[in-house]
């Protein structure tokens, strides 16, 4: 295979992936990943190099409950103790709400319990990406009777989890027709009250093909006989040519750029090139053989 880059996998005594090590051009191998598991086989921890440790916590149904924790700056409460164990403090954390509204300290106000697996709320923190200087943010989500997302309501934790503050920034609201096509879509921007996108959808008669979008910005679309989008004014796509598997092979943008795609027999793309700019090849190899 590719002699310059080797990946080695090791497994634990019950054949679960334990480590991933890569080596480039004969240089010192680097352990990229180290997995630790709960007794039930769920991943407990993924250590990425010596850069980060990602700890997973699950609820009683084995559904993912936490990735690290909501307040990643509090190393002593991290399940993996990252920040105190030689691994840098976590840079991302997320807590997932399903049927529990008050179980997690600081769960956002206004969430509605979901008993069928729908996500009721999320609280998360991205290092150095605060909202109005508050590091912990989140969303509550509302659904219609068909389990379709009605709205996402953004908020942030203030006073370190003891109070939840809502804002219309980054909110979203959605309406659908009876087969799930969008009728309207609203996305708020980075500041409260700023409706960045108000999209109203029109469809070609008797189809689910979006013919145009109007509202805060507009788009028109055309399709080929197989229902593939062939032009898109919003994306600046002049036309796209598809192969018999309905995968694009050639795309012309209105700015004159041409993109060439090559797809393998399985329909996976193996090449994506822009004349005079980038030429990307995708190679799916069998290099990662079990050692």
């Amino acid at each position: 295979m590719n002699a310059d880059f080797n990946t080695t996998y090791t497994y634990d005594n019950i054949n679960r992936l334990s480590t991933v090590t890569t080596q480039y051009a004969g240089l010192t191998p680097v352990q990229e990943a180290f997995y630790k598991y709960y007794a039930n086989g769920k991943v407990q921890r993924l250590q990425l190099g010596t850069a980060q440790g990602v700890d997973y916590t699950y609820n009683e149904r084995d559904w993912l409950q936490m990735i690290n924790q909501q307040n990643i700056t509090n190393a002593s409460q991290d399940p993996g103790n990252d920040g105190n164990n030689g691994i840098p403090i976590d840079k991302f954390g997320e807590v997932i709400g399903y049927d529990k509204s008050g179980q997690i300290v600081g769960g956002p106000a206004g969430s509605k319990q979901q008993f069928n697996g729908n996500i009721s709320w999320l609280i998360y923190q991205m290092s150095n990406v605060p909202f109005n200087s508050y590091p912990i943010v989140g969303n509550t989500y509302a659904y219609d009777n068909a389990n379709r997302l009605d709205s996402a309501n953004f908020g942030y934790s203030y006073n370190n989890n003891t109070s939840w503050q809502v804002t219309t920034a980054y909110n979203g609201s959605y309406t659908y027709d009876n087969v799930g096509n969008f009728q309207t879509l609203i996305r708020y921007g980075s500041t409260a009250g700023n409706e960045q996108d108000i999209l109203r959808y029109s469809y070609n008669s008797g189809t689910n093909q979006v013919s145009s979008i109007s509202g805060s910005s507009s788009a028109t679309y055309t399709y080929d006989a197989n229902g593939n989008v062939t032009s898109d004014t919003h994306r600046g796509i002049a036309f796209i040519i598809y192969d018999p598997d309905n995968m694009p092979v050639s795309e012309y943008l209105t700015n004159g750029i041409q993109i060439i795609y090559e797809n393998d027999v399985n329909g996976s793309r193996v090449r994506n090139s822009i004349a005079g700019a980038t030429d990307n090849f995708y190679f799916y190899g069998a290099d990662g053989k079990k050692q």
Binding site: N2, F5, N15, L17, V20, Y24, A25, E32, A33, Y35, V43, L46, L48, G49, A51, Q52, V54, D62, I67, P88, F92, G117, N118, I119, L122, M126, S127, N128, Y143, N147, R148, L149, V179, G180, F182, L185, R187, G189, S190, N208, V210, G227, V229, D232, H234, R235, I237, Y242, P244, N246, N266, S268, V270, D279, F281, Y282, F283, Y284, A286, G288
Partner: protein, 334 residues
Amino acid sequence: MTGSNFTYNTLGAGGDNIGQVKVISEVPVRYYYLKDHLGSIKVTVDANGNVVGYDDYYPYGMQMTGRSLIPSSSEDSRFKFTGKELDASDGLVYFGKRYYDPWKAGWDQVDPMQDKFAGWSSYNYTLDNPLRFLDSKGLNPSDFYDEEGDHKHVDDKDKNAYLVSKDKFDKVDDKNAESTKKDKGTTNLGSNDNLVALSNVIFNEARGENNATQIAIAFTVINRSGISGKSLESEVYKPGQFSGIQRLSDQTLDNVTSNNRADLVKSYNSAFDAIIMNLKGINPIGNNVTHFFSPSSNYEYPKWGDPDKEVHLPAPYNAGNFIYWKNITPYVRK
């Protein structure tokens, strides 16, 4: 210039991309991805854990201005929403079998499996429930907590994918290796009244697996009909559960010409339909199953308790292709 620089994707459990190694002038530099529950890459860090890129997303995948590094830095991941690649050229996201527009919040092609989702638009994303469901290939949605990836183990080879420059690609001996790429995924069993439809889903999702695995999965469907919130695979791999049908010939679909390949897939699909219907105690004929794509009078589909035997596909697809029936001990729902 780009000829001497290239990027390798580092793959972890489940073939999940966990980071990248960027080689610039022969010096490898490593980066790692921090993902949310959907596998969306939220933060990219360097080898020392320093943040080099970040993205936050609206529910349908558009990057949030003000909470995303736009434009991306060269160190940032090109993979974004649910871990899929965002094409900078046109803003579409490549999912494997379809392209997705996160602004429009819809697909640009019809669902290749649209027949399996009657009553739903074939352009909508994950049944309009994007926080819960993933679409691993652009084919059909599944519960994120059933997905491969961070929370499952790598079982075998072929989990390595590279993104390389052309000069590197030209050096690679085995250019056909891409055809070994496997599709994997899992399916929510919440509403599988139509086993025929679901068996087609299974076939497509499990096509990278050997047939024994496929049929074991099919049994699981039967036995877990109507039970939601369970992963097929987690059930299939229960101890003592595994037995089934194997295709003895290792001739792959790739060896068949394009037109015949489509027919062969169809033939296999209907074969599995017939077997599943039969195991369910329903005569497949007249139950929305065409027996085989090309019905053959001498085709004998296996019956419950039959001894091990070869089951041949009808001509012209029988050359080197048959499935091997093994007497099966099905998993029985407790």
